[in-house]
Structures are given as structure tokens and as C-alpha cells.
């Protein structure tokens, strides 16, 4: 970072601090400072966390965010190195069961008082809250929610297929894909070639076929459910999806193909809600695509939860402690969650935020409604491909099987199901 920027930021920060004497008193003598690491470096994610940093500075804080680009695991490597060196960041991105696992290797901050003061617990989905208080105390705060099984439809591909109905079940989905294919859409399913991408195809299939089987087989790793017929059915659906994908993508990121998707060269995309942010950030319009909940055979929305969160690591420095307090308050603030979600395309964690206003898309409103319905019908599940359901090691062992199945069409669905159960056994 050029020195001038730092100096300007410092000046802006101190000016804000002077303008907010009441706040400065409340935080004691130390000027709040926050060292944070996350994987959000560019695009809509980068823009959102930069905006959050601006708010932090407006409140008189010093914002020191070091992004680690790439997958979450890349960020974890930096976190690991810092923890081993005895110098953890005041706050880092971390999510799902990893919060519990990592909280065992370094002391975390007890956020109970702050959460109680903000009345946050009442407005967070209970399954989600549980992940953030592994020892019974809040040590991490969820910031935004995505569903990983949203269905994105290309308007131009729909026109080519002469279709206007949004598919609800997998049968509808398969019908529409066939229509698109015969209507001249080269690849009815838009995709990338990364591991989580392949994992998402599987989790969306299984959850759409049977949310109950998903809960017991994937979230609870029940041996009997893993050998059940639903797993095989899910692999059959995955093969259909794989046959409609462009095999040429190699190991590319899904975003490489967004233009072809919007142009109607590719038809449907099963992707997390973040794709909205990526599409918008790439300059595409809301008229170019439709967002709907992923296919569900019982017609009630299934929501595969992926929630980004911040975990707070214990630090002795008074300025960092003040920074952690300020950061926690900001993360729980409905206005901040609104700002953040409007940039990234996610929905707020708080269930009491009103999404009817301007700045929200229909897709986000549908996502929020789907989450509400899914919680009601017990179909809000934790995403497996995005490391919300299981720890990394287990997830990776299972995705090995799935990604090989997606790319190798000589593997039969039954074989894949057996291999998946075996992979779980050997990774336990």
C-alpha cells in the first residue's frame, strides 16, 4: 500500500474520531484499531468489505484489513501461520464447523455481552447461531447469508427455448434443459470446473430430491442414509447436469463463463447467491437473468445455507480490544448488514431486515422468502460444498469422489454412491 493512502486514511480516521467525542469516551482512551484477514480482495466481495472498513473509520477506528485472495483455505493458511506465531489477527473470516475446530487452537473473545446488548440472538436462525457459539458462548458473528443452490436462468436462453416458467422440481429442470438444447442453447447448464462447483451440483441435487436424506447422510454422516437410494438418485441427476455442461471449462472459475450465460449460449446456472453480485459487478443488468430457489421435488424451497462470519481472536492490546468491540457492533448492525448484502447480493443474517425497499433485487427478496419458508418446513440445511456442514478434511474427501464422477462419465451412479460412503468411512 502506498504511504500516502495510509496517511490519508489515518487523517480521515482521526478527523472522524475528533468528530465523535462521545464515542471516543465510550471506548476508553485507546483509539479502536482492527487487524483483520479475509479472502475478500476483489469484485463485489472486495467492494463490500472496503465499504465496511470505511464505516469502521467513520466511527473513529483504524482499519487494517489484509485480504488473502483465493479460496477460504488460502486465508486459513495465513491464519494458521499467524496463530502459530502467537500473533493472530484481532478478527478473521471463518465459517461453519471450522469455527468450533479453530477455536480449540487459540483463545477467542467472549462476545456474549455484546450480542445480548444488541439483541442479536433473537434475530438469527437457531441452526446458524449454534455454529457461532461452539462452547455455549458467542465467539464469532455471522455477517451475511447465501443459499448455495440458487437457480440462475439466462433470459436469452429462456427466449431460445420459448419458455417462461421457472422450473420448480428436478423434472421441470430437466425438461427446460432439453428444450434449451433443442432451441439452440449450446450448453443448457453454465458451470465452472472448480471443486466446490462440482460439489454444489451434488448437494443441490440431493437436497432437492430429499432434504431429509441430505440431513442424515451429509450433515450427520449417517451410514445407512449414505447407502440409501437417494444418494444414487442424486448421482443420476448430477450426471444429467454434467452432460449439459461445457466440458471445455477445465478448471476455470464459474465467473469466466458469465458472458456466455447472459448471451444465452449457456442456459441455467446452479450457483450461490453471490453470483448476483458478480454478475452485477461485471456490468450485467437485472433484466439479463432470473434468480429462483433451486429445484425441489416437494415443491417447497430447500435452502442450503452458507453464512460468512467473523471470528474474534483474543488480543491484549487495548486499541485492538476497542476495535473488536466496534467491529462486533458494526457486524450486528442492520444498516451495515443491509449495505453489505446490497453490494454482494447476499441476504442479511438478521431476519428482521426489510427487503422491500430499493437496492434489493427480486432474487434477494425471493432468497429471503425461501429461507423463511425453508426454516418453517425444516428444509433449511447447511451447505456441504461450501464447508458449512462438515469440517474441511471430510468435505474434501467426499468432493474427490464427486469431482471425479462429474468428469469421468464411465463411473456409474451406484459406483459413485459406494465410493462416497467409502470415502466417508476412511476420513472419519
Amino acid at each position: 500500500m502506498p504511504i500516502t493512502t495510509t496517511r490519508r486514511r489515518l487523517l480521515a480516521g482521526s478527523a472522524a474520531a475528533l468528530a465523535l467525542p462521545a464515542f471516543a469516551r465510550a471506548q476508553g482512551a485507546a483509539k479502536p484499531r482492527l487487524t483483520a484477514i479475509s479472502q475478500w480482495s476483489a469484485g463485489s466481495d472486495g467492494a463490500a468489505i472496503t465499504a465496511l472498513g470505511k464505516k469502521f473509520e467513520e466511527k473513529g477506528g483504524v482499519w487494517q484489513h489484509s485480504p488473502v485472495p483465493g479460496f477460504t483455505t488460502e486465508m486459513m493458511n495465513k491464519l494458521r501461520a499467524q496463530i502459530i506465531a502467537g500473533d493472530p489477527p484481532a478478527c478473521s473470516q471463518l465459517k461453519g464447523p471450522e469455527i468450533a475446530a479453530w477455536s480449540k487452537i487459540a483463545p477467542t473473545v467472549d462476545l456474549d455481552a455484546l450480542v445480548a446488548a444488541a439483541g442479536y440472538e433473537k434475530v438469527v436462525a437457531p441452526d446458524l447461531a449454534k455454529l457461532h457459539k461452539p462452547g455455549g458462548k458467542w465467539i464469532a458473528l455471522p455477517l451475511q447469508i447465501y443459499s448455495t443452490n440458487m437457480l440462475f436462468l439466462s433470459k436469452r436462453a429462456m427466449d431460445k427455448a420459448k419458455a417462461d416458467k421457472i422450473p420448480v422440481t428436478w423434472a421441470d429442470f430437466n425438461d427446460l434443459a432439453d428444450k434449451m438444447k433443442s432451441g439452440g442453447v449450446a450448453y443448457p447448464v453454465a458451470n465452472g470446473g472448480t471443486r466446490p462447483d462440482d460439489g454444489q451440483k451434488f448437494e443441490a441435487s440431493l437436497a432437492g430430491i430429499s432434504p431429509t436424506a441430505y440431513r442424515s447422510a451429509i450433515m450427520n454422516l449417517d451410514k445407512k442414509a449414505l447407502e440409501g437410494p437417494e444418494i444414487k438418485a442424486a448421482f443420476v441427476q448430477v450426471r444429467k447436469i454434467a452432460d449439459w455442461m461445457d466440458p471445455n471449462v477445465g478448471a476455470q472459475h464459474f465467473s469466466t463463463n458469465l458472458k456466455r450465460f447472459v448471451d444465452g449460449d449457456m442456459g441455467m446456472m446452479i450457483m450461490g447467491g453471490w453470483a448476483q453480485g458478480v454478475l452485477r459487478n461485471a456490468g450485467f443488468k437485472f433484466e439479463d437473468f432470473v434468480i429462483a430457489p433451486g429445484p425441489s421435488d416437494n415443491s417447497k424451497p430447500v435452502f442450503l445455507l452458507n453464512a460468512d462470519a467473523f471470528i474474534f481472536w483474543q488480543r491484549k492490546e487495548p486499541d485492538l480490544q476497542a476495535g473488536q468491540q466496534l467491529m462486533a457492533q458494526l457486524v450486528m448492525d442492520p444498516a451495515i448488514q443491509t449495505m453489505y448484502s446490497q453490494i454482494t447480493g447476499s441476504i442479511p443474517v438478521r431476519t428482521d431486515v426489510d427487503l422491500s425497499g430499493e437496492g434489493w433485487s427480486d432474487g434477494q427478496r425471493r432468497t429471503a422468502a425461501a429461507l423463511k419458508d425453508a426454516i418453517g418446513s425444516n428444509q433449511a440445511l447447511l451447505s456441504f460444498a461450501h464447508n458449512m456442514a462438515l469440517e474441511n478434511g471430510m468435505t474434501a474427501a467426499m468432493i474427490d469422489v464427486i469431482t471425479e464422477y462429474v468428469k469421468n462419465k464411465t463411473i456409474k451412479p451406484e459406483q459413485a454412491a459406494t465410493r462416497l460412503a467409502d470415502a466417508v468411512e476412511s476420513a472419519r
Binding site: 483455505t73 487452537i105 471445455n248 477445465g250 478448471a251 474441511n392 469431482t403 471425479e404 469421468n408
Partner: protein, 291 residues
């Protein structure tokens, strides 16, 4: 002694430091491979459990198969390419310096760059296949990158492009150092160019050949950045290599103990190449002294 102190310091301090690092970290990795470490290193003893888990995993088995194929194909082909290039350059042609630089230049490019460039060139939807299609030959197929049986060959291609120049440079130096009297004698005896190479020149090159083989083999065993940038182990897990598995276990799956076990297995593979070479060098030297 005092006057030569700076010389001793420049040589011995860095040498001891790097040796200490190498040995300390190797020992530490070996220790970790016997512990139940996952997210961070912890003490404890699990015996050979990490080793058996790694050896039984599909990823590791695929990685070993690939290493065998990649290692032998890469070493033999880069040897052949390097030798042919060296012989052609040895014909006292014009512009030799320019050509030599061109052939040697890929070596200066980092493997990540090589991998990325080749991943675009070999991508059937964007690279060579598309180019040929656009030129009008639409039945042309070159989709090894996404063909899980052929994908390992794309790594061979990129690796040869990168390092056959290195083999060429060594061979060329060897060709130039062949005793001129030998060549003259062969000419007087009436040997043609092909016969001359086969019977006179090439046999003198074999010590260089062994060196090239050993250097390329240890490169093949530790290949990481090239395959990570080119296929990242894909399609699926078809192009896994041992170094990728180590990285994956340690830093993607947070299984430090198993990752360390895989790393130690890799070290054993390297020793299997380097120890015989060291032995051979030792015998060579003994023979030279006694001769």
C-alpha cells in the same frame, strides 16, 4: 588464518545455516508425520497410521501412477528433444547464438507462467483446437486437457517445452568438448556423419546423460507449480502428483500429520533417485583416482 577469515565466513556461515535448516525441518517433518496433528502441529504418537492412511487413499495411488508415467515420459522425451536440438545446433549453423537463446529461454520462465499459458493454449474452447476450427478444419480434435486419460500428457508437453533447452545446453557443451583428434581419426577412417555421431561422439556423452536424467527426475518427482497452474490435478483427480497431494493434505484439508507423511514418502522417492547417483559418482571418482 585471520587474513582468510572473511572467506571462511562467507562460505561456512551460509552453508551451515542452510544445512541446519534443511536437516532441522526434515527431522521436524518426520516427527510430525508420526503425530496426530491436524490444524496445527501437536505432539503425540500414532505410529504408522498417517502413512497407511496416505498409502490407502485414491489420491495418492493416482499420484504414484501419474508420477511413473509422467516421470519416465518426461525424462526420456526431454532427453531426446534436448539431444536432437544440440546435434542440430552443433552443425555450425548461422544464428546459433540466437537459436540457443530461444531454446534456452523457457527455462527463465516460472512454472506458474508456463502452466497458465499452456492451460489457455491447450483449452479446446479457446486455444489450439479453436484456432484450427476457425481456420476451417472443424473435425480437428485436440482436447487432452479435458480428457482424463490424456491430461497427464499435457503436463509432459509443458514440462518438455520448459526444460528441454536445459538438456540441450548440457549436451551442446558435451558435444563441443569431444576431443578433436578423435573426430579427425574417425574422418580419416572414413566414417560418415551419422556413423560418427553414433559410434564416436555420443558414447562420450553418457556421463552428461546420467546427470541430465538425475536432474530431470528429481524435478519430475517434486513437480508442483506446473501441474497446479495447468490442470490443478484435474479433470477430477486424474492428474494428481505427489507434491499436489502433500499440499492438498496440509493446506487444503488441514491434516498436517498425513501431509507430513506424504512429504516423507516423497523424500524417500527422491532418495531412491539421488542415492544411487551419489554412489555412482563415488565409484567414478575412485576409478579416476586409481587409473
Amino acid at each position: 588464518m585471520v587474513r582468510r577469515l572473511p572467506e571462511y565466513l562467507t562460505i561456512w556461515v551460509p552453508l551451515l545455516l542452510s544445512a541446519a535448516h534443511l536437516i532441522a525441518f526434515t527431522l521436524w517433518t518426520i516427527w510430525i508425520s508420526f503425530t496426530p496433528s491436524t490444524l496445527v502441529p501437536i505432539s503425540g504418537w500414532v505410529g504408522l497410521r498417517n502413512y497407511s492412511a496416505v498409502a490407502a487413499s485414491r489420491n495418492w495411488q493416482i499420484a504414484l501412477d501419474n508420477l511413473l508415467l509422467f516421470g519416465s515420459a518426461f525424462v526420456l522425451l526431454s532427453l531426446a528433444t534436448g539431444l536432437i536440438l544440440a546435434i542440430l545446433l552443433d552443425q555450425r549453423i548461422r544464428g546459433e547464438n540466437v537459436l540457443r537463446s530461444i531454446f534456452l529461454y523457457p527455462l527463465a520462465v516460472s512454472f506458474v507462467v508456463t502452466g497458465t499459458v499452456w492451460s489457455w493454449l491447450l483449452n479446446p474452447g479457446l486455444g489450439i483446437q479453436k484456432l484450427v476450427h476457425d481456420l476451417g478444419w472443424t473435425s480437428f480434435r485436440f482436447d487432452w486437457l479435458i480428457d482424463r486419460d490424456m491430461a497427464i500428457w499435457t503436463i509432459v508437453i509443458a514440462a518438455i517445452w520448459q526444460s528441454s533447452g536445459f538438456a540441450m545446453a548440457l549436451f551442446l557443451a558435451g558435444l563441443r568438448s569431444v576431443d578433436a583428434d578423435l573426430i579427425k581419426a574417425a574422418q580419416i577412417d572414413g566414417a560418415g556423419p551419422i556413423r560418427m555421431y553414433r559410434r564416436v561422439i555420443l558414447p562420450t556423452l553418457w556421463p552428461i546423460t546420467v546427470t541430465v536424467i538425475v536432474i530431470q527426475l528429481q524435478f519430475a518427482i517434486s513437480t508442483f507449480d506446473l501441474v497446479r497452474a495447468l490442470t490443478n490435478g484435474g479433470p477430477g483427480i486424474a492428474t494428481q502428483l505427489p507434491a499436489l497431494v502433500v499440499y492438498d493434505l496440509m493446506f487444503q484439508r488441514s491434516l498436517l500429520g498425513r501431509g507430513a507423511a506424504a512429504a516423507v514418502l516423497m523424500l524417500l522417492l527422491l532418495l531412491a533417485v539421488l542415492l544411487p547417483y551419489a554412489g555412482w559418482r563415488y565409484v567414478q571418482r575412485r576409478r579416476a583416482i586409481h587409473a
